[in-house]
Symmetry: C2
Subunit: 466 residues, 2 copies
């Protein structure tokens, strides 16, 4: 990577000529764009720019490409694996001003948005259409960022991830060319699947600037339920049996006792501080009742108690707000600490075993504060470890625990990351997960598309040895 | 492409040393592997080989790559766009002896199969598990071929296409390396989506040798229905309204009067020779009844008559057998003719309009025998034109009609191919559909992965000008 001061100066001059004061070297802006919500060490970009349209993104990229200056795309900075940290400096491209909803086709259940539109903004806009976009990673992330990291969250067990819900997109490549990856038809057998190649590419091939998304009809009825267990295993076994029974559950979220306790403190709720499943059901009123009954019976078989069922919207909203605030609740337990979140995902049949073994492993470090949440219907769960900044030994312990957890998940035919992406922290696992030949193929693609290695360098692909 | 006699001789000698009599230059074998089920002109490969495992495929590919000899992968030869025609000669790799079901994980709703396993073979094997693989392109195609062409068919409206149902795969690249594209977890945010890059790549990047598939629980209840209309428009409007109402219909197939008449002659059925929808509903007994009632009411609004509902399995099977035999029924009308099948797919809101305009266009050629079938819930439909081999003018007419149909579909934000893939016949539309920059990106990937251009040359990508 060439990143000489001269090239940077030339690049900044060209960008300022084009974007005016929408290019900034202000320290506070650079600081704001130096990190995401993860534990990764911040690194400041050299400048931040705020393009307003696709042409401006294309101009920025071709200028940076000519000058071999790294670019780092930035949505809302709510990533969990350091994807927006400017580890090689360069230009941060903040797409937040590309926030237009380009079109909504209610009859086709699709919409087209600019990359900076957030999921909540989109759903507010859709409020009167009877449609919504269900993918919900917790944070109010930009849809461009969600696509770039192949995000998912609580509803993915029923509606899929960004992989299934981005119908097509526009992306700017390093040379400034703009590719459209497809049409609005529900399916197509035409050409290489550039949509899916770019979804999850973490800004290392191109910058996603526009997306056409699948929308879903708001379910006729929605109900929620909560059930708690004496041990985590009751909850994981209930989850496995629910999925194996084919219940089309919309959300099935696990929280362990420590997490429930943290939530009670943070959200001033009074849930039992026990391993708990938060559930949601979508469908016709009869279907929703039937699903809840089925899961209630399965939970009872596994020792579930206090099965609380509700169709009340207020109660349901409170519950999901508490779930979404789980990470903040965890961090509030130890102000100033850093939260280190793991993200493995295993085949559903191995869920209980993987969590059980990890619990036992974590129990060997009683000095660590540890919490568990999970989108368990997908086999995806997060152990969150709170690291005291003054205790470097804790960081080492957490790294060890995390490495063993990833190894355990891979041994079970799982993945090192269900939804947070590779970013900075998981690069070392890519080859264990895919094998050297598949990683070589990824590198071949990367080299062909981004020969100057300007696109979010240092992310996704591990460094080449030698 | 270099394809000298000397290189070919050397390649064949090496392959014979490795595969023995599983390499053949017999004319009948070459002839059998020179075509698919489409109208495209057959072209014989120079030899056919029958690898039994992944190592043998790797050996074949690396030998062919060293010698710059083209390879053409072959499943069951049931393709619809000339994908298996050896337009540049070379070695046909028939994967039919790679027919092992490697593993079934009923608890995870996944299975792993070799590429030569056919969909019917898999479903027979799964019979006692309560699970099945729903993707059904009509023909008993190999799962490797279905993945390579991103196939779908009647059930895709509910269960998705091969894109959504291949969880991961193994493929051999031109240099003989074997890539594994992922794990068995339901979702992953790790690395480039090599699975989706290879699904739909039509053998132009690598040869798919093994697939891990999503399975689905057999629905508790299945029912079918049939409803006919005076005009095609009643059927298309019923389809649009059904999809927009969010009915989770499992199959919704349109057949026009000419096609129904052909079916009655071929399958000895006595259906009314009118535009007809064949429908199928999956779910609980109550849900299935509810869905059928909803669609029955919508159909009545659009002039649907004789709504015939059945939960009888025999009756249902007969109906779907007749549907699957529709193409053969069409061809039987004019023995010796060639069937030219179009395959556009449009956003559902444009379905009625696209079909209406195409009907009017086709009506200008009364001498042509024309039939319409469609997976209309996806916006995908096939006009089939029967071309008399003795009437070259008919071929010209059909080419014109087809070109205008594709243009019409693209104008409606649709695709030139919903499920048959690009193959030979749609290459000329690729740039109109994606634009030059996206096609350039496809070429960049192709060149990087297959620098010697040995992988199914002449398919998918249009020739470069100059």
């Amino acid at each position: 990577m060439t990143d000489t001061a001269e090239n940077l100066t030339r690049t900044l001059a060209a960008l300022q000529a084009r974007l005016g004061d929408r290019v900034t070297e202000s320290h506070s802006q650079r600081e704001h764009h130096s990190h995401d919500e993860s534990w990764h060490e911040p690194r400041l970009p050299d400048a931040v720019c705020y393009p307003k349209d696709i042409d401006e993104v294309a101009a920025i990229l071709s200028t940076c490409n000519e000058n071999r200056v790294p670019v780092v795309p930035f949505g809302t900075g709510t990533g969990m694996e350091g994807g927006t940290v400017a580890v090689h400096g360069g230009i941060c491209i903040d797409v937040s001003r590309m926030d237009q909803i380009v079109a909504v086709h209610t009859d086709d259940l699709t919409c087209t948005v600019q990359a900076g539109v957030t999921r909540k903004q989109l759903n507010s806009y859709l409020r009167d259409t009877g449609l919504y976009f269900p993918i919900d990673p917790g944070a109010d992330a930009s849809l461009g960022g969600m696509a770039a990291t192949r995000a998912s969250g609580t509803n993915a067990v029923r509606y899929g991830t960004m992989r299934e819900n981005v119908l097509s997109l526009k992306a700017v490549l390093p040379d400034g060319s703009v590719v459209s990856t497809g049409r609005r038809a529900r399916k197509s057998a035409a050409g290489y699947d550039l949509t899916r190649l770019l979804v999850g590419s973490e800004g290392t091939l191109g910058i996603i600037v526009e997306l056409t998304l699948r929308l879903h009809g708001r379910p006729e009825a929605v109900s929620a339920a909560r059930v708690c267990f004496e041990e985590v295993e009751g909850a994981t076994q209930t989850t496995m049996a629910t999925m194996q029974a084919g219940v089309p559950i919309a959300r099935i979220e696990l929280l362990d006792a420590a997490q429930m306790d943290a939530i009670n403190r943070y959200s001033r709720t009074a849930y039992p501080a026990k391993p708990t499943l938060f559930l949601e059901f979508h469908g016709s009123p009869a279907a929703v009742r039937e699903q809840a009954e089925t899961v209630g019976e399965i939970a009872a078989d596994w020792g579930g108690a206090e099965f609380q069922w509700t169709a009340d919207e207020q109660e349901r909203r409170e519950m999901w707000q508490a779930r979404h605030d789980a990470a903040y609740a965890a961090m509030a337990l130890k102000p100033g600490c850093k939260a280190y979140a793991t993200d493995v995902c295993v085949p559903i049949s191995r869920l209980a075993e993987c969590i059980q073994a990890t619990q036992e492993d974590a129990a060997r470090y009683p000095e660590l504060t540890t919490m568990l949440t999970g989108h368990v219907g997908d086999g995806n769960f997060h152990y969150v470890f709170l690291i005291d900044a003054d205790e470097p030994a804790q960081y080492e312990q957490v790294q060890e625990l995390s490495a063993r957890l990833v190894e355990r998940a891979l041994d079970m035919d799982g993945t090192c990351t269900g939804e947070h992406a590779i970013g900075l922290g998981k690069r070392k696992y890519l080859e264990s997960e895919f094998g050297p030949d598949a990683v070589d193929l990824m590198r071949t693609i990367k080299r062909a598309v981004d020969p100057n290695e300007i696109m979010n360098p240092g992310k996704l692909l591990p460094p080449t040895s030698g």
